[in-house]
Structures are given as structure tokens and as C-alpha cells.
């Protein structure tokens, strides 16, 4: 059996909880904190597919299925990077009001140790939390995140063929 690990990222966001929740679960719009991806789903409910696609819809970077959704507190999905042949893991977004701010915790579980997914989750977790904070508090991602987003769009032509959206339709089961 593959050894798995759990990664936790947490940030405090100075904004109303509903505003953080809306930013986190927005459909059909570019999400800077999720590497400029757009959330595609049928309806955000347990069992529904989750696909994170490029703004033009041509490529899909992350796929999964909604496991739990309790607005504005918990959003849980299965999670798989389309370009890595790694086991599916579980990602939990949790919002909690603490001392007048929102505590946002991003937990990635069942992440296979030593995989590219683990490395990506470590770097991606810090990016997602700090970018969401900047976006909600100041209306735009922090400077360091904007540079990374710029690099992503510059290198989009290097995206592998396996990530093409026709390989990841909404009705494809993710295992």
C-alpha cells in the first residue's frame, strides 16, 4: 500500500465569511487563486463533477468530484492533477469565523508520498491560501502571485496533450 500524507495550509482573511465563500466557489469565472482556472460543474452538490479548466476551456488541470458542500463553511472534493498518473486525493476547504476574521484552512489528504502531486500540493497550497487572502482583502492577487500567474500564461503552450478538456468530460468517472 502506498504511504500517504496530509498537508495543511491556513490563512486568516479579514473579510465577511460569505464573501470568502463566494470567491472560493465561484463558477464560470477566472479564479486567480486557483492558477487562473475556471470551475466547471453541473451543480455544486455532492456527487457532482469538479473540473478546473483554462479560461478558453481547452485544457483541464484538475479533476474531481464534490463530496460535501456546506455553505459557507465546508467544501470537500476528490482531487487529481490531469498531467500526473498519481492516486486521487481529497481536498477540504474550511472556513471558520475566529476573532472577527475568517480562518481559511486548506487540507489535502491521502496524498501519495514522494509523488509529483505531493510536491504540487505543497507549493499550490501556499499559493492558493495567500492569493485568496489578497484577492478578497484587496480586490487583486498579491504581487508575487501576479508574477506567477503571468508565467503560467506565458508557458501555457507547453501544456501536455493529456490535459486537453476532451479527455476529461464532466461525465467521466475519476479514479
Amino acid at each position: 500500500m502506498t504511504a500517504t500524507t496530509k498537508l495543511v495550509h491556513r490563512v486568516r482573511i479579514n473579510a465577511p465569511i460569505q464573501q470568502v465563500w463566494d470567491a472560493l466557489t465561484k463558477e464560470g469565472e477566472v479564479l486567480p487563486f486557483f492558477f487562473n482556472s475556471v470551475l466547471h460543474t453541473t451543480t455544486l452538490a455532492p456527487g457532482a463533477p469538479m473540473r478546473m479548466r483554462t479560461p478558453d476551456g481547452k485544457f483541464t488541470g484538475v479533476v474531481g468530484e464534490v463530496l460535501e458542500i456546506t455553505p459557507p463553511f465546508r467544501y470537500v472534493t476528490t482531487f487529481k492533477f490531469t498531467n500526473f498518473d498519481d492516486p486521487v486525493c481529497k481536498v477540504t476547504h474550511e472556513l471558520k469565523e475566529v476573532d472577527g476574521v475568517v480562518e481559511y484552512t486548506l487540507t489535502s489528504e491521502d496524498v501519495a508520498v514522494g509523488t509529483k502531486t505531493e510536491k504540487q500540493m505543497q507549493q499550490g497550497g501556499a499559493f492558493i491560501t495567500k492569493t485568496l487572502k489578497g484577492l478578497v482583502e484587496n480586490g487583486k492577487p498579491p504581487f508575487s502571485s501576479r508574477l506567477i500567474l503571468c508565467m503560467i500564461s506565458l508557458f501555457s503552450w507547453t501544456t501536455p496533450k493529456i490535459c486537453r478538456s476532451e479527455n476529461w468530460p464532466l461525465d467521466k468517472p475519476i479514479r
Binding site: T5, K6, V8, H9, V11, K130, F143
Partner: protein, 114 residues
Amino acid sequence: MKPDSMDAVFQALAHRHRRKILDLIKSMPGCSVNDLLKYFNISRIAVMKHLRVLEEADIIISQKIGRTRELHFNVVPIQLIYDRWTTEYSQFWASHVTDIKFKAEAKAKHDRDH
């Protein structure tokens, strides 16, 4: 990041036992307080006190799972401090400088030992 939360991070990092706790939790995600105790000659109460300081700074996240408590390292507060004073460009050159330092020190150590 609020000034007081930044103070909490610097305070948390300003003790060698707390830095050692961070190293241990980073290398053993989800470990327990008992796991940490094996690496210290100080009392459980002292370790718990250090953990509380780290938790208040959000660098450590403690999650209750059943009857046990899992400890996780949270890089985000340190990342926010890093981002404040570093740009992508200075990061590139600073990492070259630190590379030179580590390589030179490793060679000096090798020469001393042999």
C-alpha cells in the same frame, strides 16, 4: 498580514526549541506531542508551552482526530513574511548567494575533516 500576527510569527521563531519542533513536525506531518517528546530533554509541559506559541502564530496547526491530536506545519505565515521583502528577481539572486555560501561551507568542512 496584521502587524500583531507578524509579531507572533517572529516571536514563535525566536527560540531554538521551537525551531527544532518546527523541523520535526515538518519532517513528520501529523505527528503527536508524544512523538516530539522523544527528541527533547525538557518536560512535557515545556514542550506544550512552546507548541502553544507556535499555534498562536498559526505556524503549527493542531487537529483532533478521534482521541489523538495531529500536528501539522503551516508554511503560509512564513510565506507572507517572505513575500513582503522578496520579489521574484531578488529571490533568484539571493538563492545564488545562499548556494555559494552552502557550497563553500561544505567544502571548508570537508577540508577540515580530511
